[in-house]
């Protein structure tokens, strides 16, 4: 598919989409009625970008104001192209886009997986964005400083539709962090779509942090293709926002690719956090690991719908999937659906789920070591999910996440 075909498709997307309901299997546990509208109009920024309260130290930062990227004029160790819908993008982007679209088409041609189903929100994103971002990490380039994409909303009306394409070239290494912020009162909806391709032996860490206020909702999709020997390290950390619906799709299209998909949800109040993952072993000899942990208080609800597909002939695939939840309140709800669809015989696939509450013996042990109960509980809560953060390889991102974890835990109690 050429760039022009994409634009033509986007131009034909309906302006009055029919939103999914809970009768729809993919939305079984989440109601979108609170959105109250389906007439999606573009949000127009009403204020300039503000500086951030907290991002990882030493990061390169690109701020999205109501979905529109503000590419800094400074020199960056990677290519950051602002794609304007009304202008022709660079030849580099166009040729990358065409190859990527072809890969996508080939991967989705297989029947029986439901890839042909249209995601209403992804479609709306295609229609709504004005300016998108293309990031390309050059061949062999190792970028130690994290690349932070920070999403803020200034407008009280409309929908934000950030659109990002990422090309991680051969043997490159980078750590990209998305941070969604803002909106405590008004009902603000963001529909980001992020697509990435990891070329042979590329290394990419994708960290997504939801720390919006109680008026902020994100319904987003990220779609990553991994070629041979590529490695992805993904973490979705939902500590805020009213609604987070995170669709993380992985397609392993080259042998010996490895991917780690981690999720951490700290939910309170009436928050709803819904993780949907698809891990598609298109070829054999790949390894994937999913670990999603949740801590729930108040009347919150956390959903994990993990889907592992091991296609026909994807022999020697290895896939683990685990969802663990800690329920702190009697009114919170956990829904877990770790699914496996296996079409090849020589594979190893496991999945599991556990739900439990605070262990009184652990609390007693800490209390018998002079640690007061509230502090003991906080240590246990944070200890439950800390392993996920400790595995983040970028030092600066990890340190930052650890401070956020404490912040999230404190917020849980208030």
């Amino acid at each position: 598919m050429s760039w022009q075909t994409y634009l033509n498709h986007a131009a034909n997307v309906t302006t009055t989409p029919v939103l999914p309901t809970r009768r729809d299997e993919e939305w079984k546990y989440v109601s979108l009625q609170f959105l109250g509208h389906t007439d999606f109009v573009k949000a127009i920024a009403t204020a300039p970008a503000t500086s951030s309260s907290s991002i990882p130290s030493g990061a390169h930062e690109i701020v999205f104001v109501d979905g529109v990227p503000q590419v800094p004029a400074t020199d960056l160790p990677f290519a950051a192209e602002l794609i304007d819908r009304s202008k022709a993008p660079s030849a580099v982007f166009q040729s990358w886009f065409e190859a990527f679209a072809a890969l996508k088409q080939k991967t989705f041609a297989a029947k029986g997986f439901g890839f042909e189903q249209i995601d209403v929100f992804e479609d709306q994103n295609a229609r709504l964005w004005d300016k998108a971002l293309f990031l390309q990490i050059p061949d062999g380039e190792v970028i130690a400083q994290p690349i932070v994409l920070r999403f803020i909303s200034t407008s009280s009306e409309g929908v934000r539709a950030p659109r990002i394409w990422i090309s991680a070239s051969k043997r490159s290494k980078a750590s990209i962090v998305e941070v969604y912020e803002g909106a405590t009162v008004l009902n603000r909806l963001t529909l980001p779509v992020i697509e990435a391709e990891l070329a042979d032996s590329a290394n990419l860490a994708l960290t997504r942090v939801d720390r919006g206020g109680e008026g902020f909702s994100r319904i987003g999709r990220s779609r990553v293709f991994l070629r041979g020997n590529a490695n992805l390290e993904s973490l979705v950390f939902a500590m805020g926002s009213k609604l987070v619906r995170d669709n993380s799709d992985l397609h392993l299209v080259g042998e010996n690719a490895t991917a780690r998909l981690h999720g951490l949800s700290v939910a309170g109040g009436d928050q709803v956090i819904d993780h949907h993952t698809t891990v598609d072993h298109v070829v054999g000899h790949c390894q994937t690991q999913q670990l999603y942990k949740s801590v729930l208080s108040g009347q919150s609800r956390v959903v994990f719908n993990g889907r592992v597909i091991i296609r026909h002939d994807s022999q020697k695939a290895n896939s683990d999937q685990l969802n663990q939840s800690l329920l702190l309140s009697g009114t919170a709800e956990v829904d877990s659906k770790p699914q496996l669809e296996i079409w090849a015989d020589d594979v190893k696939a496991t999945h599991g789920a556990t739900v439990g509450q605070m262990n009184e013996d652990e609390i007693f042990y800490l209390a018998s070591r002079a640690i007061p109960r509230p502090e003991a509980e906080s240590m246990i809560r944070q200890g439950f999910t800390r392993d996920l953060l400790m595995q983040v390889t970028n030092d600066s991102v990890r340190e930052w996440l650890l401070t956020l974890q404490t912040e999230a835990d404190q917020r849980l109690l208030s």
């Binding site: 877990s336 496996l340 669809e341 079409w343 190893k348 696939a349 739900v355």
Partner: protein, 471 residues
């Protein structure tokens, strides 16, 4: 593998049928043939009218042509059937021969085996064994048609109390056209002295079998119930849409085991039974127990989720399943455990084996409602693939609304490894014994839940069916 279905023969019998098709007149006809009370006819019509408003369900992992419900016959009964066969020797000799060939010699049964059998042939129950022993213990074990006449109050009280007429498409259809099935009532404090068993046989052509089973275990009682089934080998598909309801009152326990060996279709996927069954139990009383054990090795398509509603405090539900699919079979099976009462406990052990071009899906739900303080669930769902064209899917639905719940779900998919076979072969086992040893090891936790006779049968069945698929 088709040649090995030794139950695929047809019995030549004169039968009394109703015309093909489904409408209110047919239902009235069935009801009048069975001389039913008026309330039952009304229930049937209510269910039928509701069924007409429903759409035929479509399931994601199951694929089959649309069923023409007007092209089926809803009632077929052997003609030479005494009105009330007290003595099974009075039966048509052809029928007796049939059951001998199936390994169920009805006459001798009384003497050699400790199991009481109810035999359902096409649409009707043709008689029970061991009636005296049961009568002495006060246990009621008869066809549901007979129960409607002899124990109308019991039937009225519990019929549809676990699976309502409106439950689902096939449950509604069953409630409208069911023809027979077994009824069991175990009185207070009685431990049923022998195991009870129903044997289902579909014989007639183009006939659906819609049996209905209702088992009630009153306070402090216990019953072990076994179900077996076979059908002739026919090229067209036949529909089996049964409903089984279990009610377990305070301190009572029902163990329900099934070895399902309906005809699967030939090796190209032609023919075979569509097995669309609704099975559900209610642990209504405190400390009541229900366990479902199933070995699903037959049918072209299986769609069933034996479930337990855990309503009574400290009640327990269990589901043990081995599902084997081969050739072009499709199985979508699993369970639902609905925790309502305090301190309720459920266990799910599911083993799926898929061979050849088959699709084997586990679909299970564990729901912990807010009222279910201290609920516990342990689930383990393992799949094994034999050959590279089969598919194994696992769809667990875990929904927890109470923080005191502790729930664990584990699952894995693997194949019989070459290393394992090599190891056993190097110790002198031939490849068939090696594989059967590994498969039996894989299913062990389920087989041990079956009564001894069934367990031996199940092991043989699985081995025989896998013989051609591995190697």
């Amino acid at each position: 593998m088709s040649g090995e279905y030794k139950y695929g023969f047809v019995t030549e019998l004169e039968t009394e049928d109703v015309p093909k098709g489904l409408n209110e007149d047919i239902i009235r006809l069935i009801s009048s043939k069975k001389n039913e009370p008026e309330w039952m006819l009304e229930q049937r019509l209510k269910a039928f009218r509701y069924w007409q408003t429903l759409e035929e369900p479509h399931w994601a992992m199951v694929d089959y042509p649309k069923i023409d419900f007007q092209d089926l016959r809803y009632f077929s009964a052997p003609k030479k059937l005494p009105d009330n066969p007290k003595n099974l020797d009075e039966l048509d000799p052809e029928l007796l021969k049939t059951f001998e060939r199936l390994g169920i010699p009805l006459q001798e049964q009384k003497r050699i085996s400790g199991i009481a059998v109810d035999v359902v042939f096409d649409s009707v129950s043709i008689g029970q064994t061991h009636t005296e022993t049961l009568e002495k213990a006060g246990v009621i074990f008869c066809s549901i048609s007979e129960a409607l006449h002899k124990h109308p109050d019991l039937v009225k009280k519990y019929f549809g109390s676990v699976v309502p007429l409106t439950d689902n498409y096939y449950a509604a259809l069953n409630a409208a056209v069911f023809t027979d099935g077994s009824f069991v009532y175990v009185p207070k404090g009685v431990r049923c002295p022998i195991d009870l068993s129903t044997y289902f046989r579909i014989n007639a052509q183009e006939t659906g079998q819609f049996e209905r089973t209702l088992i009630v275990a009153d306070e402090g009682s216990f019953v072990n119930y076994l179900e077996g089934c076979t059908a002739p080998q026919r090229d067209e598909n036949q529909l089996h849409a049964a409903v089984v309801e279990l009610v377990s009152l305070e301190n009572a326990e029902i163990k329900y085991s099934t070895v399902q060996n309906w005809y699967t279709g030939d090796k190209n996927g032609k023919g075979g039974i569509y097995n669309f069954v609704t099975k559900r139990g209610k642990c209504a009383g405190k400390k009541s127990k229900i366990s479902w054990t199933q070995v699903e090795s037959g049918s072209a398509i299986t769609w069933k989720y034996p479930s337990v509603i855990l309503q009574g405090e400290a009640s327990e539900g269990a589901f043990y399943s081995v599902a084997l699919t081969h050739d072009y079979m499709q199985a979508d099976t699993g369970t639902k455990m609905i925790h309502i009462g305090k301190n309720t406990k459920s266990t799910i052990i599911s083993k799926g084996i898929s061979a050849d071009h088959s699709v084997n899906s586990y679909r299970g739900q564990v729901k912990i409602l807010p009222s279910a303080e201290n609920a516990r669930n342990y689930s383990q769902c393992d799949s094994m693939l034999v050959g590279s064209n089969s598919r194994a899917n696992t769809f667990p639905y875990i929904e927890v609304k109470n923080k005191t719940a502790i729930l664990e779900h584990e699952a894995s998919t693997s194949r019989i490894s070459e290393d394992q076979i090599f190891y056993l072969q190097s110790r002198g086992l031939d490849i068939e014994s090696a594989i059967s040893m590994l498969v039996n090891g894989f299913c062990k936790e389920v087989f041990k839940e079956l009564p001894l006779e069934f367990s031996v049968e199940a092991v043989k069945l699985i081995e025989m069916k896998l013989e051609n698929s591995v190697g």
